[in-house]
Assembly symmetry: C2
Homo-oligomer: 221 residues x 2
């Protein structure tokens, strides 16, 4: 089914259990694990250059930072880099993320082959996902409902700029000056007011505090 599998996962427990499960449940010639995105990507590239490309990447989304600075700091960055050098690589994402909007974008943007949500059955699901991919299908953890991810409101650069500064306690006047200083437009207070009011309607918030609270909880800012 799969000859060479690469695993990118920073937690030792998850990493070890994935390796062990693959070894015992599936017949794979070569399994290699990495704890950092950069190392995983280098290994992927090297294999590709030596005509020994991996045919499956299993990766987490979030990787803990530490004193060693990394170029690729997240699973998304790794997937993006991997897709560029090896478009036909099959990819399984194995993460705690439950936000259907974010998961949907992984399928839409990067055409991942499976999403396995970490949980009480995630190792079993991982094996299942690999069988599905082997049969040419995709796999998605059953508790994730991508239908709720429809009609997503896209926060553009200006929205994010305003929201992040609101969350840092800046007034709209201060945000206005900051926008001007960075030559971003529009930058009138009216425009900021309008943006924020539209976001109130979009996210069902009554004021800035509730808006910022909701967006932080949804992981959008």
């Amino acid at each position: 089914m799969f000859q060479k599998v690469l695993i990118a996962e920073d937690f030792q427990g998850d990493n070890k259990s994935i390796v062990d499960t693959l070894k015992s449940e599936l017949n794979i010639a070569e399994i290699q694990e990495e704890y950092y995105c950069d190392k995983a990507f280098n290994r992927l590239k090297a294999a590709l250059n030596n005509q020994e490309a991996y045919d499956l990447l299993i990766t987490d989304l979030s990787f803990k930072e530490n004193h060693i600075p990394q170029k690729l700091t997240s699973g998304v960055a790794l997937i993006d880099a991997a897709r560029k050098v090896q478009p036909d690589l099959r990819i399984i994402v194995n993460s705690m993320e439950e936000n259907s909007v974010k998961i949907k974008s992984l399928f839409d943007t990067y055409h991942i082959n499976a999403y396995v949500c970490k949980g009480r059955q995630s190792l079993d699901e991982l094996v299942k996902a690999m069988h599905e991919i082997g049969n040419g299908n995709t796999y998605l953890s059953p508790q994730i409902d991508l239908n709720t991810a429809k009609n997503v409101f896209e926060l553009d650069e200006l929205d994010l700029f305003i929201l992040k500064n609101l969350a840092e306690g800046l007034s709209k006047k201060e945000i206005r000056y900051k926008l001007k200083k960075e030559d971003l437009r529009p930058n009138s207070e009216s425009a900021i007011d309008k943006r924020v009011s539209n976001l109130f309607a979009e996210f069902g918030a009554k004021n800035s505090t509730e808006l910022v609270a909701k967006l932080i909880r949804e992981g959008l800012i």
Copy 2:
């Protein structure tokens, strides 16, 4: 070192890797794993009643909820319940939590014996923690610095009430009425203003939006 060990961990990968590691690295007569706090607690109680008490509990802090309703919904609830029936039980917490305030309170309030933070070495750390506990010591993951947890500002019931309602977009006037309705005191707008102003100073926030944003990010509300 340990005769009977109970593991409470909802993620299959973590659960399996802990069991495997303990089996291969340490000489333990009986290892039992559970995926739900309620089940773990029942097993603990039953063993105690049969004079076959566990001498070590390894537990996660956060447990995913699903359709099966649980009495104990978190590791803290499990630890609290366990301590009440078996005060001398040794406890290792193995979690992603990095907030030193919360970790400190586990040592202070529940006298846990070790805190292992999930990460790139957490299985090795877990083994190390067990040796330390065997020698009568405690263990704490080196990346956690409990000194930063000193002089913590305690949010009381009223603070939390105000903050939660602010995060839901209520105005101070609305919060005031709500306090009156629930017969909570103080409930003047002035008192609410004062509370919030003190929290600004305490958490270094310039206004309500920043305050709520900070506290949500710190996991306090």
